[in-house]
Amino acid sequence: MTEFFRNRFPDAVIEQGNQYLTIKTDAAAMHPIAAVLKSDKELQFDYLFNLTGIDWSDRFSVVYHLESTVFGHEVVLKADILNRENPSVATVSDLWRTAEFHEREVYDLLGIEFVNHPDLRRLFLEDGAGFPLRKDFKDEINLIER
């Protein structure tokens, strides 16, 4: 599978040696890769079981854990978002329905915008609450800094 990915996605970085095979790319190129992962007959990654947003202090990244219920293989897709002011990446909710809600949560807690999302609203918090999961989040009342 590693070879297949290297051939298909020449711009992405394929990493082995972790728990799962990892495909690293940047935000713009993520959606085409994800579409291929879902639709390709040999791959058929139809089950997205985790969608995480991570705040590295200089950039964001969104991590997708994918599994195929047909073949049983798993892969991790990572999208790096370099723009810290207005982070945004394409949504995958058109490929996997469950992503719609995971992405709402990431938007709520980290502030990453998902382009073309059908209903991008906050999920847990109210409108003025900021983005708590960011590393530079400051809240004098509720958050105690050590």
Partner: protein
Amino acid sequence: MNADAMKEVELNEIIASKEDGKYIINIGPQHPSTHGVLRFVVSLKGETLEYLIPHCGYIHRGIEKMCENLTYPQIIHLTDRMDYLSAHMNNEAVSLCVENALGIEVPERVKVIRTILSELQRIASHQLWWAAFGMDIGGLTCFFYGLRDREKVLDIFEESFGSRLLHSFICPGGLMQDIHPSFQKRVKEFISYFRKKLPEYDQLLTGNVIFEQRTKGLGILTKAEAIDYGVTGPSGRASGFSCDIRKKHPYSAYDRVEFREILANEGDTYSRYKVRIEEMWESMNIIEQLIDQIPEGSFTAPMKAIIKLPEGEYTQRVETARGELAVYLVSTGDKNPYRMRFRTPNFSNLFVMNHLAAGAKIADLIAISGSLDLVIPDIDR
């Protein structure tokens, strides 16, 4: 109208239009049936649902953010409180993640005990689910039958761990302390007791004509939809989605016990119900296979006082009573995780409600949400 893409703005338009017979009602956050603080904004025409918007976040405590400031043994106590009815499985997920990251092999005794505890917890969780589900459908006696039997499990837990509900017993390295000497005996007594009592559940509710009419053919979730929405656990297996992590990626002692994965094809409320009842039987089988052969040994592997995971990212998936819990840990070599992500089963299970409940009646909404077995703190974390 695509119900899934309904925004608040369009909701207000419906209220303003005052179409004949249409109205919006709020179910929750305080409600006897939502089993937690969850609000459903439901648009009704007469008694029929048109669409449903769940509003969660009433019990959002920021567990993922808190984990970034806590050490790994401290995180165990937080994981208890996510899905409190599958507390042991949550603890096990984080413990296994940490142990795999460090490359530590826990003693056999620990593995077997962890498996037994997970299955006992699964039985207790399904007992409470059955009690609450029966009560929601209207058979109030089910509540007492289910809880009466659950008390026996909770007594076993209390003897060994000191608390009935939130134990924090499984920790990185093994267990917090050894189990009580009478644990084996009591578990065996419980199994033989419960094997006689579980048929009573069938007598009371399963074959009842009223119950079957209320649940058969209701809220049908096809296999493709279950995979698409990420519905796992008994709800997903009832649609034919073979998602049992205990079979796909076995952990602890699951690779050496024989048990069936319960699958059904119809995907309606009744099959979700049947799958959970069958799972209780299978859990008892698993416990019976293991309870006599708990190996002697230490109850923990030697661990350092301060646990620091090497840099990298680690994933661990376990099967809780409600579905697949995935723990994704990003570590930068520190004693606190850099990012701790819990992919909880109830989060994905909740958002399929709109799809299932469209076109049903209010009474059906209660039945469907009961059959999905949602525990709200798991959704909000």
